[in-house]
């Protein structure tokens, strides 16, 4: 799994490529936590390149949603692919996560 980070105004975009599982989810958690502890709480996860997630990825997402929202921010996901969306739906995560069809709309959803 590869994670690249890009700042767009007040929004930090983390682009994740690969599969999120019990091996790789910790790298995602580390990247999200590093942003939150630097004070960046307007986060977008660009999931265009994520082809798989297990419940390990769901733990990482929920932890980050809680951390960011408690600080007045959010973690929002862009371009979630159908297989990953199915895991989010099965787990009831589509009710708590804000999902956007593409990166531009996810970034634009935060105040400038």
């Amino acid at each position: 799994m590869e994670i690249t980070t890009e700042q767009r105004g007040t929004v930090t975009v983390l682009s994740i490529v690969g599969s999120v599982d019990g091996m790789t989810a910790s790298a995602m958690v580390v990247s999200f936590r590093a942003q939150v502890s630097s004070g960046n709480v307007h986060l977008v996860g660009d999931f265009t390149g994520v082809d798989y997630t297990s419940s390990a990825g769901l733990r990482a997402l929920l932890e980050t949603v809680k951390e960011t929202r408690q600080r007045g921010g959010d973690l929002r996901l862009a371009a979630v692919q159908p297989d990953v969306l199915r895991v989010l739906e099965l787990s009831g995560f589509t009710h708590i996560l804000k999902l956007f069809p593409d990166l531009e709309s996810a970034v634009a959803s935060f105040p400038a």
Binding site: S19, D21, G22, M23, S55, R86, L90, S91, G92
Partner: protein
């Protein structure tokens, strides 16, 4: 057809185990969404074995066998770690808002939702044995000579 794989219970083997299920499904003619469900269920089961079954001890083997016949796929996952009956796992909370949602506890839920039946035995000659069964059409062209 029947295929088997055995790997030690290390997280770095999860990708290879998922690849095994994907390849087995393709050879058996399992359609794509059912193959994804099987891959997810097997990954979650193996993740539980390495996080809980072998917790506090040297990671031992996970032996997986894949059988496909008569519109039915049966995957058995055997390990020699601590016994862990999924019947005792509480149903997760899927409805609370984000503030009250518990982190974790979704693995067995995803397994139950992804396959049609789940059964578990401990103390077999192979150790613990989890059997996952999914009903799914198998493409005739891929049935092969096995």
């Amino acid at each position: 057809m029947r295929l088997q794989i055995e790997r030690d219970a290390h997280a770095e083997n999860l990708q290879e185990i998922r690849d095994f299920i994907e390849t087995a499904c393709r050879r058996a003619g399992v359609e794509r969404s059912a193959a994804f469900d099987l891959k997810l269920a097997v990954d979650e089961a193996c993740s539980n074995i390495l996080e809980h079954g072998y917790a506090g001890q040297k990671p031992g083997p996970i032996r997986i066998s894949f059988d496909a016949a008569s519109e039915r796929v049966v995957v058995t996952i055997a390990d020699q770690g601590r016994a862990f009956d999924p019947k005792n796992v509480a149903a997760p909370d899927l409805d609370s808002d984000w503030e009250h949602r518990q982190i974790g506890g979704l693995g067995w839920h995803l397994i139950r939702r992804s396959v049609d039946s789940v059964s578990y035995e401990s103390g077999t000659e192979l150790g613990n044995r989890l059997t996952l069964m999914k009903m799914t059409p198998l493409a005739k062209a891929s049935s092969g000579a096995e």
